[in-house]
């Protein structure tokens, strides 16, 4: 191949080679491909239909969320976390709020924890439902796309009922939650929980024994335990490879210490196994929300932690006590000043370990916020995982990895 000098009229694409001596061919899979999640430029080297080399480029969405976090006070940044993994905002809000609470050394009241638990699991169901329908659509099960989206709407209705927003909820605050459940909300939620099991059975009936589905997923994208550990995988991707690791279970935070649930694991490591795990996790989430509602019923009514140095007093106090009001002004205009130090708090988001690493030097602006999104590593894994598969399997594997690009390049 002759050397090209790139200029504006004759651009030089390093990944396009027109004349090659061997039988390989370079294929640009995405960003236009519908299952490339909008912006992934996956460059594949093919030998016939067989993938011999894969190089995912994650595009330039990069919104600089971490940079924004360092230029915002802690409470300002909370709504921004919604946009990191935009299909389950609550988990991100929670991860950041919990990290800041750990930094401050405070704990949310019990009722707030119960509300958070219910919202988190509801958000997990939302995320899994979206995963299920889009993954099925990618693989070709078109009617399957409709059913989970229907139930997801019901779950989003619940969020709307609770906090007014459907997708970017911002439903959790540092130190607690802003709103209480209403009796109507709980009734609606219970109705949803009664409705869900039948629906999950319908999804399963469509897919579980479906011959085409199994042929497309079984023994595809097998991740060995070593590869999973080496790529720092987490969540379903790790549990699909036989590693019994769920942060909710192994290093429980807040109410996860008290509630009773199981963590489904499979050691097959293929796409079908992981699909089964997603279904099983939804069953567990339903169980968890029911328990959260029970804990909620027996909890005292406080919603925000009592830490006057960092968190504004409740409205009643603001309206009656001058000093609370002054402190509130200072906290709103200048922001709280957490102690010097650093924390890394990992929570189990629907996709895996969502970690917030916060370094504070005692100022209202954090010195460093590093968001550890699971999708970043799940996308990196494609470098190794796709090799040896057929081109058609690439779609299955990418869909099954459940990556969200907002989280990959933050």
């Amino acid at each position: 191949m002759t050397t090209q000098l790139p200029n504006r009229l004759q651009p030089f694409y390093e990944n396009i080679a027109f004349e090659r001596d061997d039988n390989t061919m370079i294929l640009n899979f995405g960003p236009q491909h519908p299952s490339a999640h909008g912006q992934m430029n996956l460059i594949l080297e093919l030998d016939g239909e067989l993938i011999t080399k894969s190089r995912p480029n994650i595009g330039f969405l990069h919104r600089g969320v971490e940079k924004m976090a360092e230029n915002m006070i802690y409470n300002e940044f909370l709504p921004t976390t919604d946009r990191i993994d935009y299909i389950n905002s609550t988990s991100n809000n929670y991860g950041f709020a919990l990290a800041v609470e750990t930094l401050l050394g405070i704990e949310a009241p019990r009722r707030a924890q119960a509300i958070r638990l219910a919202l988190l699991e509801l958000s997990r169901i939302c995320s899994h439902l979206l995963f299920l329908s889009t993954h099925a659509l990618d693989v070709g099960a078109m009617s399957m796309m409709l059913y989970p989206f229907r139930e997801r709407e019901y779950a989003l209705d619940l969020f709307e009922e609770y906090c007014g927003a459907r997708l970017t909820h911002n439903s959790i605050r540092i130190g607690g939650v802003p709103l209480d459940f209403t009796p109507e909300w709980i009734k609606q939620c219970e109705a949803f929980l009664d409705h869900m099991p039948k629906q999950i059975e319908i999804y399963d009936a469509l897919l579980k024994e479906n011959r085409i589905w199994r042929m497309r997923l079984e023994n595809i994208g097998v991740i060995s335990r070593e590869l999973a550990m080496s790529w720092g995988l987490s969540g379903v991707m790790l549990r699909g490879s036989g590693v019994a690791w769920d942060i909710r279970k192994e290093r429980p935070y807040e109410l996860y210490k008290e509630v009773d649930f199981e963590v489904p694991i499979t050691d097959v490591g293929d796409c079908y196994g992981r699909y089964r795990l997603y279904i099983e996790e939804m069953w567990q989430s339903i169980k968890l929300i029911r328990q959260a509602l029970k804990i909620y019923e027996d909890s005292p009514p406080e919603l925000m932690a009592n830490a006057p140095e960092y968190i504004s007093a409740p409205k009643e106090q603001l309206m009656t006590q001058n000093y609370s009001l002054m402190q509130h002004f200072a906290l709103i205009t200048q922001g709280m000043r957490p102690p010097k130090g650093e924390v890394y708090v990992a929570t189990e988001s629907p996709k895996g370990e969502l970690g917030f690493y916060i370094v504070s030097d005692g100022e209202p602006y954090p010195r460093r916020v590093k968001v550890r999104g699971p999708s970043f590593f799940h996308c990196g894994l494609l470098e190794d995982l796709l090799i040896g598969h057929q081109v058609a399997d690439a779609v299955t594997i990418i869909g099954n990895a459940n990556v969200i690009f907002g989280e990959i390049d933050r």
Partner: protein, 264 residues
């Protein structure tokens, strides 16, 4: 009279008011009480030497000398810390002239987390651990992209989040939030060329800005002109149709329709 000098090494946002006598609280660095972690860190101290370790909010943090990062990580990996969950840096260049690189390790077997940190000077390179963990391959690329930390012996140390021809490392505290001079002209230069800078203008990064001359985004409501015509000053009065008591609604009149000569 001199203008007061403001250091440019750190252009991140600062609090506009700090109490004169404000002394920030500190999270205590506690001695390590956990037996398993303590045991591991003693082994590390014996093998590497010159380590400093403590607990902070129940998380173990250990500092090792920068040249021995790979050795230390290899040892910890053999001790059961099999997963490298995260790797990045913290910028202290403006105050101490240093960067801190941290490695967040997880041992699923022991159910422990450990954070290993190394302190490097500006432009000091450290050894890559991409051959030990596949995840480090991407993490190190990200760290290089965002902070400019060079990792020796990395298989392909290239940018990952930013374009290859990007100038500067965006997460450094000396890099402005809205981007620097290069960032403002990046797309104009790349797509049209530098000679078009004056014609197109620099990139607008203010989401709240309303361009009054923008006729396409409803900004000049009432001042609309046709495509390519010069903007005018007199306002076109807006008539509201009150027929059937629906505002902004008119019945379709085929006599009034106009077919454009060509699509604009």
């Amino acid at each position: 009279m001199f203008r007061p000098y403001t250091p440019k090494g750190d252009v991140q946002k600062k609090p506009y008011h700090t109490d004169r006598f404000y002394v920030p609280k500190e999270i205590a660095q506690e001695p390590i009480t956990d037996e398993i972690v303590k045991d591991d860190l003693e082994k590390l101290e014996r093998a590497i030497g010159d380590t400093k370790s403590f607990f902070m909010r129940n998380e173990a943090i250990v500092y090792v000398p920068a040249p021995k990062n790979k050795e230390a990580l290899a040892l910890l990996r053999s001790l059961g810390y099999e997963q490298l969950m995260e790797l990045s840096a913290i910028d202290y260049l403006a105050t101490r002239g240093e960067l801190e690189v941290f490695y967040e390790l997880l041992s699923a077997v022991k159910n422990r987390r450990l954070r290993l940190k190394v302190v490097i000077k500006e432009k000091e390179a450290i050894e890559s651990v991409a051959d030990m963990w596949r995840s480090a391959n991407w993490s190190e690329r990200e760290c290089y992209d965002m902070f400019g930390v060079i990792f020796n012996n990395h298989p392909r140390l290239s940018r990952i989040l930013m374009p290859d021809d990007w100038n500067g490392h965006p997460l450094l505290r000396s890099y402005p939030l809205q981007g620097d001079e290069f960032a403002r002209w990046y797309e104009v230069d790349k797509i049209y060329g530098k000679e078009f800078r004056e014609k197109i203008g620099e990139e607008n990064r203010d989401p709240a800005r309303v361009d009054r001359n923008d006729t396409r985004n409803f900004a000049r409501l009432g001042y609309e002109v046709g495509v390519g015509e010069a903007p005018k000053d007199e306002i076109t009065p807006i008539k509201y149709v009150e027929k059937r008591s629906i505002v902004l609604y008119d019945d379709f009149d085929p006599q009034k329709q106009k077919v454009l000569d060509k699509r604009k």
